[in-house]
């Protein structure tokens, strides 16, 4: 069967068909079609089956990519799914939303040598679609139930990944979230056209069916005390994510219609889910017919610009202080956005928001930037070009400048929970345990705003650490249990 592989020499890279930009502007569906069976197998067969698989090395989850590519190429989809899901709690998410061009695909050996990457993400997506279609994905049935319980704060990707893993081990898993739906960023942060919401809901249902208890609309420190929670569970995981939007303090930043990205995206997603969203209906968070300006160059900014397009904005511009090559967001997303009609204004930073005091914003004054000498991290820091100001018309400004952690010690009323100077929770390297015994932390709240795939990885690691912690404690308390 080796003949199925290494076909990159004579087989071109092909992505699944993408909906035409003019069409996809009009709806919220995911933009990529699925591979047909032969196509997926053929594309998987392009893999070089490297001795050192850089794709795996650069995957936060260390997915065994070459292996499931081979299985896919050989038509052994169920095994492919087994391998795929062995390292990844939610492969159906990663296949859709991972910036593969910066991770596996970007490091793919045949990409690096100029043959065009193996379409890893699309194939992962294909595998998971088939897995769900064929009923290979089943609710968890632990081989035994354990009496110990764990509490997970946050139903985002990190929390859910931990929940999945701990439940498989037989723990009683309770997940608390302040929102009304399971999924965190997956449900409210990421737009439909990247991740359709039924995918998230389906996963939430699977977890619930597998015995994970979800406690929604629960805010720790308000509805339930943190100490109470610690009392109740054998271990706690903080997986709250980071939600505090980074502010933008410039002349005119108090003007109306200057909104934070997450507020904007959540409203849009809620709308899509059929919720009543007064601020949207009131027009403040709806870009329809307006000149929208998004500030920032990360993935969230990309989500915002493309959402604005779909809401029917008159124009969508993206202002970013570095150039295209130095932006943090995915190049693939930029390309998609450009196709859909977004205008990128590179090397430009906002100087002031224009408009009548108390009224809505009417424009953004920006100045040109240039990239200075690289700093120790090798990144070039931008500096303004003198006398280069220009004005852009704007009646909706979305600030997508990143997120900071909320003040958890204060929110939870737990001053002993120590945080770093950036506000992230201090967790021990290797175990993920905070300075509070039995309290673990994972995901963005530890590492700062990052990718979903990192949250999954952290959640899985934290689950392992919690398991070890609980078992060690159990072993210490009950010495009679036979050692190995």
């Amino acid at each position: 069967m080796a003949g199925e592989m290494l076909r990159f020499v004579d087989r071109q890279r092909q992505m699944p068909e993408k909906t035409a930009p003019e069409e996809r502007r009009l709806h919220w569906d995911e933009i990529y079609a699925r591979f047909a069976r032969e196509k997926a197998a053929q594309q998987a067969g392009r893999c070089s089956q490297c001795g050192v698989p850089f794709c795996q090395v650069h995957c936060p989850l260390h997915n065994n990519i070459p292996d499931w590519l081979m299985l896919t190429a050989e038509g052994r989809l169920e095994e492919a799914y087994e391998v795929c899901s062995a390292t990844n709690s939610f492969p159906e998410m990663c296949g859709r939303i991972c910036p593969q061009d910066r991770l596996c695909e970007g490091n793919c050996v045949i990409e690096q040598s100029g043959h065009g990457t193996v379409t890893i993400g699309a194939i992962e997506n294909y595998i998971t679609v088939k897995a769900f279609e064929n009923g290979w994905v089943k609710p968890i049935v632990p081989s035994r139930e354990r009496t110990e319980s764990v509490g997970i704060i946050g139903a985002g990707p990190g929390g859910l990944a931990a929940a999945d893993r701990l439940r498989r081990l037989g723990y009683q898993v309770h997940v608390y979230d302040r929102y009304d739906r399971v999924g965190g960023l997956l449900i409210y942060g990421i737009p439909n056209f990247k991740l359709e919401k039924d995918v998230v809901e389906r996963r939430a249902q699977l977890l619930a069916d597998g015995g994970v208890h979800f406690h929604l609309n629960i805010e720790i420190g308000r509805n339930v005390g943190f100490a109470e929670l610690r009392e109740k569970h054998d271990a706690i995981l903080l997986a709250t994510g980071v939600y505090k939007a980074r502010g933008i303090e410039l002349p005119g930043s108090g003007l109306g219609n200057i909104v934070a990205a997450m507020t904007y995206l959540t409203a849009s997603n809620r709308k899509g889910l059929g919720d009543a969203v007064p601020e949207f209906d009131g027009g403040m968070l709806d870009a329809a017919g307006r000149n929208a300006v998004v500030i920032g160059g990360g993935d969230t900014a990309m989500d915002c610009v493309r959402t604005a397009i779909r809401q029917g904005a008159a124009s969508v511009k993206c202002l970013y202080r570095r150039d295209r090559a130095n932006m943090p967001g995915s190049q693939r997303e930029v390309a998609n956005a450009e196709e859909e009609g977004v205008e990128f204004i590179w090397l430009s930073g906002p100087e002031a928001f224009l408009g009548d005091a108390g009224g809505p914003v009417t424009g953004v004054r920006a100045h040109r930037m240039r990239l200075g000498v690289p700093d120790s991290s090798g990144r070039q820091s931008p500096e303004p070009v003198p006398d280069s100001s220009f004005v852009i018309d704007a009646d909706l400004v979305i600030a997508a400048l990143g997120f900071d952690p909320e003040d958890l010690p204060q929110l939870f009323g737990e001053p002993a929970l120590t945080v770093t100077r950036w506000g992230t929770v201090k967790a021990a390297l290797g175990t993920g345990m905070t300075e509070l015994p039995g309290v673990f932390a994972a995901g963005d709240i530890v590492r700062g705003a990052s990718l979903v795939v990192w949250a999954i990885r952290d959640g899985r690691d934290a689950a392992d650490a919690m398991h070890k912690y609980i078992q060690e404690r159990a072993a210490a308390n009950v010495p009679a249990v036979a050692a190995e």
Binding site: G51, D67, L169
Partner: protein, 1520 residues
Amino acid sequence: MTGNRNDLEGRHFVEQWRETAAYLEANHAYDPEWEHGSCGVGLVAAIDGKPRRQVVEAGIAALKALWHRGAVDADGKTGDGTGIHVQIPQDFFKEHIRDTGHEPQAGRLAVGMVFLPRTDYEAQERCRVIVESEVLNHGHTLYGWRQVPTNNMVIGDKANATRPEIEQVMIANNRHVPDPRFELDLYIIRRRIEKQIAAEGIKDFYICSLSCRSVIYKGLFLAEQLTVFYPDLLDERFESNFAIYHQRYSTNTFPTWWLAQPFRVIAHNGEINTLRGNRNWMTAHEPRMASDVLGDNIVDVLPLIPRGSSDSAALDAAFELFVRGSTRELPLVKSLLIPDAWEKRDAMPEHHRALFSYCSSVMEPWDGPAAVCGFGGRWVVAGMDRNGLRPLRYSVTGDGLLIVGSETGMVPIDETRVVEKGRVGPGETIAVDLREGRLYHNGELRDLMAGKQPFTDWVKRIRVLDQIIEPDHEEPTTYSREELLRRQLQYAWSMEELELVLQPMVADGKEPVGSMGDDTPIAVLSDKYRGLHHFFRQNFAQVTNPPIDSLRESAVMTLTTRLGNLGNILSEDASQCDLLQLASPVLSNAEFQALRDYLGDAVVEIDCTFDPSGGENALTEALTEIRRQTEDAVRGGAVHIVLSDTASSASRAPVPMILATAGVHTHLVRQSLRTFSAIHVRTGECLDVHYFAVLIGVGATTVNAYLAQEAIADRHARGLFGELSLVECLCSFTDAVDAGLLKIMSKMGISVLSSYRGGYNFEAIGLSRTLVSEFFPGMSSRISGIGLTGIQRKVLQMHARAWDEDVVTLPVGGFYRYRRGGEAHAFQANAIHTLQAAVANDSYATYRRYVEQVAAQPPINLRDLLDFREGQRPVGSEEVESITEIRKRLVAPGISLGALSPEAHETLSIAMTRIGAKSDSGEGGEDASRYRPKPNGDNASSAIKQVASGRFGVTAEYLNNCREIEIKIAQGAKPGEGGQLPGFKVSKMIARLRHSTEGVMLISPPPHHDIYSSEDRAQLSYDLKQINPEARVCVKLVAQSGIGTVAAGVAKAHADTILISGHGGGTGASPQSSIKYAGLPWELGLSEVHQVLTLNRLRHRVKLRTDGGIKTGRDVVIAAMLGAEEFGIGTTSLVAMGCIMVRQCHSNTCPVGVCTQDERLRDKFTGTPEKVVNLFTFVAEEVREILARLGFRTLDEVIGRSDLLHQVSRGNPYLDDLDLNPILVRADDGEYVARCTVDYNEVPETLDARMIKDAEPLFRVGEKMQLAYGVRNTQRAIGAKMSSAITRKFGMYALQPDHLTVRLRGSAGQSLGAFAVQGLKLEVLGDANDYCGKGLSGGTIMLRPPTNSPLQTYENTIIGNVALYGATGGKLFAAGLAGDRFAVRNSGAVSVVEGCGSNGCEYMTGGIAVILGEVGDNFGAGMTGGMAFIYDRNGTLEERLNPDSITWQRVETEHWDGELRGLIEQHVNETQSSHAARLLDNWDRELGCFWQIVPKDMLDKLDYPVHADDALTVSSGVAD
């Protein structure tokens, strides 16, 4: 007479040697068992059986013409040993007795030639007492002792220092028994004396011979000094009807007198590869031995094989037992011990097959290259082993002498008196019945032996497996998916193993192929579970004996396994054939069941599992219990023991089956019970061929891998094997294992499984010494490591995991290819990228980061457990020698063009040339356009040109364009194996460079066909120093235990550099099990070579180089401290050129264009000379920094300074002890520095020196010339140096074909016309030896008998074995028969001979061979190009052809008719062959007797079609 100075120096050496050797041995750095010997051998016999002085004189003369096959120590006098075995001149000795005043009795007296301790008088006296009392006890009497006159001036200091007191004891037949009985008494007496001496621990005592018939004179002098040292032999009364003589070439430089040959029965040229197995089995046979002849005295001769015997001495002991202790006569004993291959030989007559089938029922053969000459009283024989890898030529003279020897021409004889010239072919024996006075040729001799008993009836009693199993049997499955999974997990199987190893074994019936070296931790350093087989490294043959090609020469190989208890090997009756025969030791579940049912009560099954909660010693106790139960069962009459771990479960853990099997095998051997039963092993762990090999190698009779079968069934059920049925899948799996076993045996040069079984043909790395000595006695294990406690711990870890409830899938793996969570790999993603960034940006700071990344890895190599000893004051880095100096020592090792893309290959060469360092061309030639610098000054010609077994592109021109020539004996990734370049990789350019055809597969044979022994390797070295008198010669070896002595032999043969490659060396394609399980880390090999060379005072004569996974300057400095002077950096330099370890080199799809011939991919190559230069510069810079830190100014100062290293980690805590002391001990270097001080080792001149002088006008003004000389066999490689001169002066193609004609009369030495170029014509009137026309590069060679010779050309041998090996062009006309392997790997020469031996035209890829007579077996094996025409008068050719790659037909077209006739006409013109002329005279009739042999792949690629139909189609357009 001896001067004091000599004595002192010699004695000093001996003392120092002994001390150092003992020290090294105590530190497990050296083992005398590793010594090897090989040599030249021969016999002379008076066919009428009447003694003549002429026979002795001929023997003495022959030795004088053999000197080049032996080695000489640095003192120019100490030989490796030589001797002669002749009849006792009774008068001579009787006169001596009379001189002492006694009157000898009538009848024969006996003479014992005895070596006594010389300096220890007390011991000497004690020896005499023992000898005398044993003689007297047996009823005979002594005439007394005679001090043998010797001339000690002719021997070297070292030999003199160990010289024994040499005396003869003369014995009277006082019991007045008949001579044969007297002879038997003397045998028993000798054995009793030997045992008594050994019991008293007396050293330096040895009886060369004790006989009333013959006497052996031998010692450590040069062969030509025999009669000077022993003037006795000049006495005219020394007459004999036979003389057996021998010249030894040993890797051992310590002068050991008694190892000189001949021995009591035989003299042996070769190497017994199965020695360890044979010894073990001999021990096993002993309890059952009973002899009518010896009677109760059998106990006196056992144990048969004394400790410390060489392989030849051990074989001799076996010969002697049969000759004296049974009724079998010498020719039959030879057939029994060294049988011919018979199973797959359709051409062999039925009664001969029965004879050999019977022989293999009696005992296992002694297998290995062996040319033996022996004397058994009535018979003298000269015989060859089945592979025929030693030359044995003979002449019969008109006055009744048979002269046999390793070379023709050793005994000068009048050509007109010769009535027959022949050779002893593979498996053959010729013999003289001295009593009847008759010479028996091979066929006659076999008829005689086969007629002695009704063997044909006897062998009908053998049953085969097919008779006991239903032809349409089913293969049931037992386990559920879950149980299968758990059991797989128990043995740490991974998905990788199933996909990468098992799948191809079943789907393709082949072992999987991989590429690049092994960069995972050696098993003992890994923190993962490693099956016990991971600790075993396969042995392989290098230099002293050749590996075999198990694919192309499969007829000599066999896996036949015979079941039944082994009987008394000394008896001869039909019941010895009551046995069950299996075609393979590998059994499927159903086959196993059938076997079990058939054997019934004779079987006892022993459970090999243990209780996981049984405490610390559970495993140890289980093993003891298994052995106890087995012993009970065998004593209770069980003929078959089944060791099984099928009972493993949640509550039972499996005992590692290698331990159980070895434990039982050694226990039974120790209890003298092993031959009473077969050991059948059922194990779940066994999956790959290496595991099977280890099980059989440690004693298993059959193996049933039941879990592998279940895994196959599971995959079969999932539809992963397409249309194959389950039974077909299992057959395919068995085929793959069988092929793998054959390959593993063949790389050690072993062809018979029964001799491989129980032979421990492995070495352990990382197994505790205690464990090894208990379970694998005799196997070497230099560094100790894991013991039973550690093994139990690992097994239980896996057991706990396997039966843990949460198990869902197999781990993904990572052993072959990196996977996160799997094994560590030395080349990891981040380090690769960092290094590439460093060389691309010329950033030493980035390189430092790479070094740190490498240092941060977990221990992978032994050197990772070492660190430098600091303490000396650092010096300023400006004081350390320059980067330029250090870089010169770095080498880009041999990677062939064919593996590498041309771009990558050239980039490396250019880079290395720029920095004044060397790159190695690798195998496969080099484009001549690279021999001249490019316009920008870059020189792409590799400084080192490699000569590998395929000899692709090795021409005179190639060899003259380099500074060094490297003989690649083995390569780290697949030592002992050949290779194939698949057709799709043979591009137009590759085909041109390799003189082959585009798109046609090329095969590299496993051995160099001109290196079957040390003396052969010395010869190749000599040839190369002739064809390029300025180039240093390097020999590339792969690290293994015993490599030190191999290297000593190499050093003695004038090599200038020895390269020790580690197991981690890369490869373009190699079987995975070879990449993983053969060869040792270079740390072990290098240190041993350095130690042994120092010990033997040879170190200063050779440079040592090492390679295999060197990645940093730290590695370089460690290598220097362990003894290396030069350092090869292969894989890392590829990484610098863009390689990212995709490990798909074998599939021609390298995405970065480094290792591919595909144009589209070559475009992606981004390497530059600058990047490579940067790498080597950084490494050198790092070396400087380390030297400065340690306080040294040059690398020279640290070479061999292993005391500057110390062990900083002893590996995992559960190991017994991982002790690297064996690689760190230093040998005392005495008065020589322990590094190379000799630039070039000169070799003696040959005839060419004269020729070049005489041809002065040719070189001065270009005149056409003819020269004429007489020639002897000692004049070798004639024409090579002349060809070098011509190539350098005129170029390889400039002269007319016969511009210089050299006429020679006599027997030319080996390698006649080696690499001869166009313009040189050699005409020989006489004959020539082996390797005639080796590497022929356009020259012409003609051989014919002298005009007055009475010989028929088509019946008599005129050239030796392996003619035209690797020839690329030119012509050879020989009016006579050629030896074996005629035109092997010929890729361009055109030749006409009148018959040839076996394996003719093997691996041929070009040229034409016309053979006007019979050919031997296996003609055209692996022949993928060129063409042959064979004259087949008797119509027997077809059964001698190997049909795998060739087709044959009559000559159908006019074109080929014309071509053939034209060549025969040239042959007649050149040689005046009357045979050939007769053929031409009757051409119309004779043409019908010719076959045209064409490789299948060539049929559609020839300019002229070979089929008449095709020709018609072409010419007239008419289709049939």
